[in-house]
């Protein structure tokens, strides 16, 4: 089943008089349960592509259809709600709320969705256990290592039961051991919960783990390799 369908997507930045084509006529689609990496050198347009898929940036041309909804037709407020209900985000620098515990950080997204307290509690604990932090539910981010914080961020991204998770350079700040643990956890969740993961990365360890590798260069898709 197709989760994301990207058709002729183009993004042009107008910086002063010079027009920069960050993404140039890209067409791609992602099926449910994919574990894909978008790779490419800095400035290749992979983050711009990821931002547009996540509804954080508008396309200049083309369309992105997520589960049958054309994101370009949504108003700003509808887009925020759409992101809340359909997309999970994992950021390079974790971006947890420092005043909340690990459990509260995970719970918070569900609170925004209007879920009740019991459901929030149960799912937050279940997800933290799934990322190997069942013992640290009440720890604040400052008391967790970088790898542990990113695992909380993964649990948070999954808390809203999204259609897919976008992870922008999730391993950039992690050491090898933490990276390996994090990727194993994400792969496990991908298999178990059939959630689509799309990474933007130039970390070879992520590329090695990905089931599909899309290489972007100068805004174009240079290759799209699927692995078994």
């Amino acid at each position: 089943m197709k989760v994301i369908d990207i058709k002729n997507l183009t993004k042009i930045y107008n910086e002063s008089e010079v027009k920069v084509k960050a993404v140039d006529n890209v067409s791609l689609s992602f099926e449910e349960g994919e574990f894909a990496a978008i790779v490419g050198p800095s400035g290749s347009g992979k983050t711009t592509l990821l931002n547009m898929i996540g509804g954080l940036d508008n396309a200049t041309e083309g369309e992105i259809i997520v589960n049958g909804t054309n994101m370009g037709t949504l108003k700003s407020s509808e887009l925020i709600d759409f992101r809340l209900r359909n997309i999970g985000f994992v950021f390079q620098s974790y971006n947890l709320i420092p005043v909340l515990t690990a459990k509260e950080n995970v719970e918070f997204i569900m609170d925004l969705q209007g879920r009740d307290k019991i459901e929030r509690d149960n799912r937050a604990i279940e997800l933290l256990k799934a990322v190997g932090l069942g013992e640290r539910v009440n720890a604040r981010p400052a008391k967790l290592s970088g790898g542990q914080q990113q695992r909380v961020a993964v649990a948070r991204a999954l808390a809203s039961k999204p259609k897919f998770v976008l992870a922008d350079e999730p391993t950039a700040n992690l050491d090898s051991k933490s990276t390996e643990t994090l990727l194993d956890i994400m792969e496990e969740l991908n298999k178990k919960e059939k959630i689509t993961f799309i990474f933007s990365t130039h970390d070879q360890r992520v590329v090695n783990k990905a089931h599909r590798v899309i290489t972007v260069e100068d805004g174009h898709v240079k290759s799209d390799e699927r692995r078994n």
């Binding site: 931002n51 996540g54 954080l56 940036d57 407020s77 925020i80 709600d81 992101r83 809340l84 209900r85 997309i87 985000f89 950021f91 620098s93 971006n95 709320i97 420092p98 005043v99 909340l100 509260e104 719970e107 918070f108 997204i109 609170d111 925004l112 969705q113 948070r156 809203s160």
Partner: protein, 475 residues
Amino acid sequence: MIWNISWKNVWRNRSRSLVVIIAITLGTISGIFVAGLMKGWVDQRTHAAIHTEVSHIKIQNPQYLNNEELKHTVPDYAEIAEFLNQSDEVKAWTKHTKIVAMASTSRGNTALTLKGINPDEEKTVSDLYTYIVKDGGNYFESGFKNPIVISEKTADQLRLINYIISQELLDSLKTLGAKEQLLNNLEPLKDQRFITEKKFKAKLESILKPGQIKEFGADIMKLAKNYKLRSKIVFTFSGMNGEMSYQSFRVCGIFKTANTMFDQMNAFVKEESIADVAGFQANDYHEVNIILDDSDEQVNAFRDKLKSKFPDASVMTWKEIAPDAGMMADFMSMYYYMIMGVIFFALAFGIINTMLMAVLERIKELGMLMAVGMNKKRVFSMIMLETIFLTLVGSMAGMIIGGALIGIFGQVGLNFASVQEGFEAFGWSAMVYPNIDISFFFGVTAMVIVIAILSSIIPARKALKLNPVEAIRTE
């Protein structure tokens, strides 16, 4: 959960939040205390205006207001008296005869209004009997003929106060902590009598050092006062028939209220002691004073009732007779809120600054929140709640401390002795007992919330303008 995050965010930068909270606390304490002080003054002034000077409603002859001739007595007095006796609203009432007279003693004279009263009845309407000064006699309890109660101010004008350094005074000074040297300096003056305050003061200044006068001068003046009770005062006035009449009285009591003007204008005698000499007939009275419940609605309604029933009489409420006190009572609550408003307006700049800093240092986090699906309404609510919590913590602490201070000083009082004369010239007591209505705290809380909401607009707008993609990348 937004409430939880907002509350925790307040304490994220503890020292910065505490600076603002302390500023708000101090501002609230000052505002509450000043409001309590002003309310204390106004309440005392209002109480004095009603229960010492004027009463709730006064009935007079309308012509007496323009021309204080004795013949202008209250019209239809008998009917009025009967009506008042039958009215349930009336808690107490009394009547006075009034004569503008010249009072003379062997050493001085002054003009004042002599009020003929029934002392027992008067006590139910006026609390003047509680203002008899220490060693100043009593309120018509002396058995002698024609007693009069005058004010300390009048006694001074009629030279009925002497100043004596007695052994008792020296002993009292000793207990107040006076040093031996001061007592030795005063010793030569012992048992000497000074007939005026001016002479006594001059003598003290010649024998005492400025430091000693500064420290104990007021105490010595107070303790040395010796009222010449039973002294004779002769009053000269024009009677009902227009002929000059005379009557003498003996001082039985000396009072002092916080209103110098009232004190120097009034003296009180038993009504029967001037009735015959002035030529008053039965039911000849110049004013009827009525006490009701302390409710403006009831006072105004009863005034209107009296006016319609007795159209020939002048019926006035205390607010019409003492408009200064009336205006203060009516508008003071507005002033309290104005004081608080000015304080919070100034504090709002500090609050805005703190919240702006809080937003600017959390750009990345706010970007993340907006990216994952926190809508603008929720972002605004979060920052607004944070501002409300920050402001409420400070103002609650301020209200508790301010309320406690008012509670303490409301019991022990605050004495503005150094400006006593000036205050009392306007009828304001120098000893003030601050108090505050509990409703004021609710009003202040509402005000704080409004100020917090307004203060949160600029920081919240700053947050709402953020682009999530750029904000997340901020280092």
